[in-house]
Amino acid sequence: MNKIKKITSYELFLPIMCFILVLLINVIKTPTFFEVSIKNGVFYGYIIDVINRASELVILAVGMTLVVASSGGTDISVGAVMSVAAALCCYILAGGQQTINAYQNPYVLGILLALVVGVVCGCFNGFLVAKMKIQPMVATLILFTAGRGIAQLITKGQITYIRVENYKLLGANIPGIPLPTTIFVVVIVVLITNIVLKKTALGLYIQSVGINAKASRLVGLKSSRIIFLTYVFCGLCAGIAGLMASSRIYSADANNIGLNMELDAILAVALGGNSLSGGKFTLLGSVIGAYTIQALTTTLYAMSVSADQLPVYKAIVVVIIVSLQSKEFKKIVRGLKDKKADGRKEEQVA
C-alpha cells in the first residue's frame, strides 16, 4: 500500500501515466504500432517516428520550461526564432543564392551563426522581460510577429534550398548509425541541461526566482540576471530546433518552419505537470509532455483519422490529460478516497 502511494506521489507519475495511456490506445487500435524493423540499416517503425519527429519539440520544451519556471511567463517567439535561425544558416551556406549544390561557406560557420542568432533573439527577449520588466508574453510577441518577417527578408521571400547530402544528416541518419541523428542531439541537450541544473545551484536559483523574485533578490540572488539567462537559453534551444527543422527539409522555408510550435512547446510544459505560473519545475516532465504530444499525432495518423476531424480528437485527449493533472481533480479523487476509507472504518466499527 505504501509502495503504491510512493509511486503515485512521485512528481512524474501523472505525465508518464498519460504518455502510457496514449500508447495504450495503439495496443488496441493498431497493434503494429510497436513493431520495429530494420530497413536500409536503420530502425524503422512508428515508435521511431514518434521519437524522431518529437525532437524539435523536446528541445523547445526544455528551453520553455526554464523560461516558465523563472519568469512565470511564456516565450511565444520560439517558432519564429527557429525560422530566423534556419533562414540565416541557409542564407550563409547558399551565399545568397536560391538553390545550391555545394556549400558557398563552411558548414560550421552557418551552424554557428544560426545558433548565435538564436542567442541574440533570446538576449532581446530576456532584456525586455528581465530589465524592462515587460510582461513576457507581450515582450516575446514582438519577435513572434517580427521574426518571420526577418526570416523572409533574409531569404528574400523565397525558399532557399541546400542540396548537399551532408546538410541532411542532422535531420536524417548518419550512415552506419541505425538511429536518427536528432535523437542524439536531444539526448545531449537534455543531459547537459539536467546536469547543469542538478549539479550546480542554478536549478534551485531558477526555482526560487520563479516562486518569489523579490525575496530571492533580498537573499542575494540577481533575479533579473537569472531570468535573462533563461530567455537566452530558450533562444539557443530555438536555434538548435530551427537547424534540425531546416535540415529535415534541406531548405529554409521562412513561412512554415516552426509554425505554431510555440503553442505545442507551452502545452508540453503544461502536460509535464509544470505550473505555468512559475516556480517548481521538472525538466523531464516537459520532455515526456513533448513526446506525449507527438505520440498523439502519430497515433491519430496511424489510426487513419481523417484530416478534418484530427484537431477535434487532439483537443479531446489534451483536455482529458490536462484535467487529470489539475489540482481540483486531485482533490476530488482524494475526497472520494477519504469517503471510502471512512466507510470502511464505519463498517469495521459496526
Binding site: 523565397q158 529535415r248 512554415n256 487513419s304
Partner: protein, 360 residues
Amino acid sequence: MKKKFLCTLISVVMTTAMLAGCGGGAKPTDAPAESKTESTKETDTADQTKTETKEEDAKESGESIVVGFSQVGAESDWRTANTSSMKSTFTEENGYTLLFDDAQQKQENQIKAVRNFIQQDVDYIVIAPVTETGWDTVLKEAQDAGIPVIIVDRMVDVSDDSLYTAWVGSNFLQEGYDAADWLAQYLDKQGRGSEEINIVTLQGTIGASAQIGRTNGVEERMKDHTNWKMLERQTGEFTQARGQEVMESFLKSYDDIDVVIAENDNMAFGAIDAIKAAGKTCGPNGDIIIVSFDAVAAAFDSMIAGDMNVSVECNPLHGPRVAELIQKLEKGETVDKIAYVEEGVYPADTAEAKKPTREY
C-alpha cells in the same frame, strides 16, 4: 481629497468618452453613410479637376490606360511570378500605366492602396486580396467612383457580386480533373489500366480553396475508375515537413501504395524523402507514382532528377488574362464574371525541355 475627486472626475470623463466611442461604433451603418456622401462630394469636385488633368495627360501619353494593382506581398516564388507577370503586361509600350502597391500581407494596406487609386482616379483597379472578407466598403467606394475592379487569385466574399467586375484565377477543380486524367492515361500506357491501383493523398490545409478543388476534382474522376482505390487522405498542411511525416505514416500502414497524390509540390518533396528513407523507389522508373500540383521551379528539378512523375500547373501568370478583360471592357463589351487562366500538365519526360522556358 482633492486628488481623489480629480481621479474620479477623470475616470468618469474617460468612461463616458469610451461609451460615446462605443455608441458611435454600434451603429456603423449610419456613420459610413454620412462620410460616404461627403467623400463622394469630394470626389465629385476632385473628378472635375482630375478629368481636366487627365485629358492633358492623355494627350501627352497617347491615351494610356491607368491600372492600379494591389498585390499581397512577395511571400513565395509563385507570388513573385504573379507580380512580374502583371508588371511585364501593363507596360508603357503596351499602352498602360501601372501603379503598383505591395501590401506586405496586410489587408489595411490594401484598403489604403485602393482608396489611393480611387483618389488618383485610375481607370481600372486590380486586387490580389490577402483575405476573402472585409471588402464590401472599399469596393463600394470604387463602384461609386465608377472604377471597374478586377480580382485576381483569391476570391472575395462580398454581399453583392456586382461590387467587382470579374475574377481571374486558377480552376482548382479542373487541376484535379487534369491530374486524374493524366494518371489514367499513364496507367493505360503502362498496361495497368484495369489493375487495382492503391492511392494515398496528401491534402493541403483543410478548407483552403486549392485543397477543396483538387480533392474534389480527383474524387469525381475516381468514380470513372472503379479499379482505383483511395486508401487514405490526410492533410500535410502544404508543407514539406508535414508531407514527409504523414507519408512516413502511410508507408507503415500500407504495404502496396501505387500512387501518391500530393496537393502541392512541397508536400511531394517530403513524400519523396519519406519513400526513399523507407527503402522504396518513386518516379518514372520507381515503384510509386508521384502526382503533384503547382509546378514550381523546384518541381522541375525533382522531375529531372527522376523522383516525380508529373506536376499540374497552378499558373501565376495572370497579367495577359487581366489585360484581355480590360481590352474588352474598353470596347464596351461585357465580360464573364469568372475567368480562369490556362494551366498545363507537366510530366517528367518533358521537364528538361520545359525548364528553361519557365518563368517561375
